[in-house]
Assembly symmetry: C2
Homo-oligomer: 357 residues x 2
Amino acid sequence: MTATAVQAPLDLPGLRRQIDGCLDHYLTVKAYAVHTENLPPLPLEVLRAFVFAGGKRIRPLMCVLGWHAARGQEEAGPVIRAAASLELFHAFALIHDDIMDHSDTRRGHPTVHRTLAERRQRRVHPEEFGEHAAILLGDMALACSQEMLNGAGLSPARLTVALPTLDAMRTAVLYGQYMDLDTTEQLTGDVARALAVIRYKTAKYTIEHPLHLGAALAGGGPAVRAALSAYALPLGEAFQLRDDLLGVFGDPQVTGKPVLDDLREGKRTVLLALALRRADPGQVRTLCRLIGDPALDEEQADQVRAVLAATGARAQVESLIDDQQRAALRALEGAPFPATAVRALHEVARALTERAR
Amino acid sequence: MTATAVQAPLDLPGLRRQIDGCLDHYLTVKAYAVHTENLPPLPLEVLRAFVFAGGKRIRPLMCVLGWHAARGQEEAGPVIRAAASLELFHAFALIHDDIMDHSDTRRGHPTVHRTLAERRQRRVHPEEFGEHAAILLGDMALACSQEMLNGAGLSPARLTVALPTLDAMRTAVLYGQYMDLDTTEQLTGDVARALAVIRYKTAKYTIEHPLHLGAALAGGGPAVRAALSAYALPLGEAFQLRDDLLGVFGDPQVTGKPVLDDLREGKRTVLLALALRRADPGQVRTLCRLIGDPALDEEQADQVRAVLAATGARAQVESLIDDQQRAALRALEGAPFPATAVRALHEVARALTERAR
């Protein structure tokens, strides 16, 4: 991964393997340190299992691609380690999110709070123990993310330049989550608000900030950042809109997530807001009666799906995804990135918006 | 606070005011940024109210004293800002802790999850909303702590030197909390385990790591660190033992915390472990029946207090506090610190172990 190697196409699966290798190494060393201090092994065991149960490593990949886009020249090792630390941050966000959403399954396995509850079945209140221990386990994942970044081998100057981006990333995702939580009770056709939540929770957090982080590590300036944002924000929106469609219409065998979860939880998606805005009174009643019902069954879900289709909301979301994907790809055309980075960013944009899981 | 001013006695109340000034400034600037981005103001309002409802600022003070102990020479401003960021980290730890402990009151006010539940009374499940929003608010406090540290004005080299201490601090407190949570169901006379929890949750987190952080910011070497540890670990133990006594025998008007909380929650203290080890069968039955009963009343609490006194556990904890306080003060005698730092550390050690709140 020297300056000359950058000319060859970027090997994305290979990069993903390198990222996983870094995570494996960090978690192994940490587990050993914890063992040496006689601290309980369970939290890190559960964290490791969670991290390696799946995940697309989108944020680490974006970080490394941002570094390439900004023509990163130095040794890539510390950058890949720093990028991989974002996956532990993401584990933190997901673990806390799953508590708030009462999700039982993630990546085809029990969620962390369910796992911890099961590992402590003799307790009087196993579920409460599971949730409380999962709060701490999420906190630990965040602390590990920090520690992994700090130990990535970046020079002090390089690390310091990256910090404001990380601060912005944390603010974005936490406020996005908060806005999401704060609206969960209101069933409205407020598309603008649903889009604002997406912007913070996903477009900035998942795509823009990781790209900016990588660019900062390469010493990229404002022009590179702006070009990355022009790609990142529409792509992030399209990515989340695809996620919302998969959450209702996806194949749970492929997504690893029960397809009724989003509907039972009453997730306030753009898809739902669009449907409410176009629904007739009977359709509104159907949505209000069924969305957020924790006992929703497959047949009722089909009624919801029928309304989402009949109102044209589903088709409109598909068309929004197309528009935003195109906007992201167009942004790459005039971007001041090397050709290899453009090609890789193009590939990733298609994968994230045309995926089935 | 230049090198010459270090000769004058350290003004601890003045230092506390400076720390509060830094917190006020950071939170004001952050609230403005959040407002500018059209993000909801409630989380930061609640965080600010929580931070300024009380608190002794022990960790920031310890950090500044560690800096003095290691003969910090440069401008103190960035050090005080970095120190103050520990208070936001502590807010994070307390907010999550109060969720896990089901505490309704802290510092004489409703806890954050209670406050958030009350601010959203129209909701179907206000209590659940309160707990979930408080998970996020704790996360935000942690992110703010990080952002405040990053923006403290430390040079990259100085900041980088401090990072391993912060990593160790986060590991210590989170594992301490986890061990605490993991034992809450077992009522045992395992004094060693209760002491291990104290060591991580309090002695390291509250005293040792903040002192080490300050020393690192002053460029202090291994001898200073070792001398600080020799003071910190016994003092931290004595501090927590005092806290445990106040949690059962304290005056709630003074502590700001309902005196029955620790008993209702069934907190596994050294005090309790000592009592169980010395109790006769009747006393064991009393403790097992009452400790952890969420409906425990004042009369029943008096029965517990009587057992804690009659077994000699209360007196033994007082004597442990004395021993550990003496050990901490003795450690100052040969320590390679300037006289002003020794005097201030002496004063703080007495205040933390002889306090009524």
